[in-house]
C-alpha cells in the first residue's frame, strides 16, 4: 500500500480510479433508496452482497455521507438498556469489528473502551441496571468506581471538587470510535462494485402513488419507475414520507458537535456524561471530538450556536480543567430525526412499497451496518426479521413502544 502511495505521488495520482462510478439515471429500478448515508449505502451493499439484488439506485441530494453520516461523533457501542436495543446494537458492533476486512477498506475502528459517567445516586443505579441487562445479553459492560476510572482517564478530575463529582461509571470495553467517512466510502465502493448505481446531486422532488402503492420517484434529474422505495433520509425523513402522504412520529432536532485543535494523545477512552451533557473522545489526529445534547427546539437549520459552545466548554472543563486553554477548531450541527421512544422505525408502512429506515435520532451511525443488513434481509425476503420487529412502524398505533433510555444525548 505505502509503495503504491509513493508511486502515485510521483506520478501525480493520475492512475488512481474513482472509488465509485457515475451513471446516467435509468428509466426504472427494482428498488430506489433515498439517502446516500451509511444506512442507505449499507442496505444497498448487503442487498447486492448477501441477496444478489443489484438493480438498485441510491439517490443522494448532496454528496454521499454529507448528512448525519459525516456529522456524528463516530462513537460505536452496544451498552443500551432495553433487551431489544442491546441485541440490535451488539450485532452492529460485531459487524463493525469485521467491516474493514469485509469492505477491504481501513475504517479505523478503535475499540478503546467507553465510559458513561454517573454523577448522582440515581444515575449510578441506572448504570448498575444497564450493566446487569448488558451482561445477561452477553455484552461486556460493568460498573466501575473512581479509583478504576482514574486509571483509564488519568486527566479527568474524579475528586469531589467538581459541582457534580464522578461517583462511578458504566465501563464498556468494546465501545470505541471509528472513521465515519471511511465507512460510508467503503460501503459505496462495495455496492458500486457489485452493480448498484449511486446517484449524487440527485434530489427527490416527489413520489407517485397508484392505489396506495408506490409506482415512481420524481427527481431533479428525471423520473424513475420503481415498485419499492426505501426512505433513509434521517433528519429529512418526514419530508420524504409526506410525499407518500404518510405522517411519521418524528421531530427533527439539530445536534451540535465540535472539535478542538490537535493535542498529543492523552485520552484513551470515550468519556460520556449524561448529567453534564457532553461526550468526549480523542481522534487519531489528536483532536478532541465533543458533542452534547440535541437543541432545545425543532429545527431544520444546521447552525452552530454560541450558547452551545459555551455550555459544552463549561461542562467539559468541569471534569477536564487542564483543557482550559485549548481552542475550538470547528463546530457544526447535524439533523436528528427524534422519535418519542428514542428507538428507530424500520420496515413496512401503511403505504405499499414505501419502506422506512428512519427515526435514527442520535444513535444512527452506530447502527449503520446492522440496519443495512437487516433492511436488506427484509427487502429480499419481504418479511420483517425478528431482530428489527420491535422497531416496526405499527408500534406507535398499538402503543407497544421501546423506551430506550440508554440512547445518547437526549438528556433524560
Amino acid at each position: 500500500m505505502s509503495l503504491t502511495l509513493i508511486k502515485q505521488a510521483i506520478r501525480g495520482h493520475k492512475a488512481l480510479t474513482p472509488m465509485w462510478q457515475t451513471h446516467p439515471l435509468k428509466e426504472s429500478y427494482e428498488l430506489v433508496i433515498i439517502g446516500g448515508g451509511v444506512h442507505g449505502l449499507a442496505c444497498a451493499y448487503y442487498l447486492a452482497q448477501e441477496h444478489g439484488i443489484t438493480d438498485v439506485a441510491v439517490l443522494e441530494r448532496g454528496y454521499i455521507g454529507s448528512g448525519g453520516s459525516g456529522r456524528n461523533t463516530a462513537i460505536i457501542r452496544s451498552n443500551y438498556l432495553t433487551p431489544e436495543g442491546i441485541l440490535f446494537y451488539d450485532e452492529s458492533v460485531k459487524l463493525y469489528e469485521d467491516l474493514a476486512a469485509e469492505l477491504d477498506f481501513n475504517v479505523m475502528f478503535s475499540q478503546r473502551g467507553h465510559l458513561t459517567l454517573a454523577h448522582t445516586d440515581a444515575s449510578l443505579r441506572t448504570m448498575r441496571w444497564r450493566a446487569e441487562v448488558n451482561q445477561i445479553q452477553g455484552v461486556n459492560s460493568r460498573l466501575i468506581y473512581p479509583d478504576d476510572i482514574k486509571k483509564l482517564a488519568p486527566h479527568m478530575d474524579v475528586s469531589d471538587h467538581p459541582r457534580y463529582p464522578v461517583l462511578g461509571a458504566l465501563y464498556h470495553p468494546p465501545g470505541g470510535i471509528i472513521r465515519h467517512d471511511a465507512v460510508v466510502w467503503g460501503y459505496a465502493r462495495g455496492a458500486d462494485n457489485r452493480g448498484v448505481h449511486i446517484h449524487q446531486q440527485t434530489e427527490v422532488t416527489g413520489l407517485e402513488l397508484t392505489n396506495n402503492r408506490v409506482t415512481a420517484v420524481q427527481t431533479s434529474r428525471g423520473r424513475i419507475k420503481t415498485g419499492t422505495v426505501l426512505n433513509a433520509t434521517a433528519g429529512w425523513s418526514s419530508l420524504i414520507a409526506d410525499m407518500a402522504g404518510l405522517k411519521l412520529p418524528i421531530e427533527t432536532r439539530p445536534l451540535q458537535a465540535a472539535v478542538t485543535e490537535p493535542l498529543k494523545p492523552f485520552l484513551d477512552v470515550v468519556v460520556v456524561s449524561g448529567t453534564l451533557h457532553f461526550y468526549l473522545s480523542q481522534s487519531d489526529r489528536g483532536e478532541l471530538v465533543m458533542g452534547a445534547s440535541v437543541d432545545p427546539y425543532a429545527s431544520y437549520a444546521q447552525d452552530a450556536s454560541l450558547s452551545f459552545a459555551e455550555g459544552l466548554a463549561g461542562h467539559v472543563l468541569e471534569l477536564f480543567p487542564s483543557l482550559a486553554r485549548v481552542r475550538l477548531m470547528r463546530h457544526w450541527a447535524g439533523l436528528c430525526d427524534m422519535t418519542p421512544d428514542y428507538s428507530p422505525i424500520m420496515g413496512f408502512t401503511p403505504v405499499d412499497g414505501f419502506l422506512v429506515d428512519v427515526g435514527w435520532g442520535t444513535y444512527g451511525f452506530k447502527a449503520g451496518p446492522v440496519s443495512g443488513y437487516r433492511m436488506a434481509e427484509l427487502i429480499a425476503t419481504n418479511a420483517t426479521p425478528d431482530l428489527i420487529y420491535p422497531f416496526r412502524y405499527d408500534r406507535f398505533l398499538s402503543g407497544d413502544l421501546v423506551g430506550e433510555k440508554g440512547a445518547a444525548s437526549v438528556g433524560h
Partner: protein
C-alpha cells in the same frame, strides 16, 4: 440566538423558554374506544414540517405562561406569538 416575543413580556432570549412541541388539537371524543388512533396521532405523530409551524412555548424564566408561536423551522423567523384561545 433565537429571540422570541412573549405575548406578556416582549422579546426575550429563547433560553428563557421551554419548547412545547407542535400545536395540534386534542381528540374530539377522548373517551370513545374509536379514539385510539386519534390518541396515537395526537401523542406520537408529527407534521414536522419545514416551514412556518405553529407550536407551543412556555416562558419558564418569565411570566410562566404557555403561548403559541408561528416560527419558520429553517430560517427561525418568528412570524407571530399569541395566547391560546378556545375555538369557537
Amino acid at each position: 440566538m433565537l429571540l422570541l416575543p412573549c405575548p406578556n413580556c416582549g422579546p426575550r432570549n429563547a433560553a428563557e423558554f421551554r419548547y412545547g412541541g407542535e400545536y395540534k388539537p386534542r381528540p374530539q371524543n377522548p373517551e370513545s374506544p374509536a379514539a385510539d388512533t386519534e390518541w396515537a396521532d395526537y401523542l406520537y405523530f408529527r407534521e414536522n414540517k419545514l416551514g412556518v409551524k405553529k407550536e407551543w412555548w412556555y416562558h419558564r424564566a418569565g411570566c410562566g405562561c404557555w403561548f403559541l408561536a408561528e416560527r419558520h423551522t429553517k430560517t427561525q423567523t418568528v412570524e407571530q406569538t399569541y395566547l391560546w384561545e378556545p375555538e369557537q
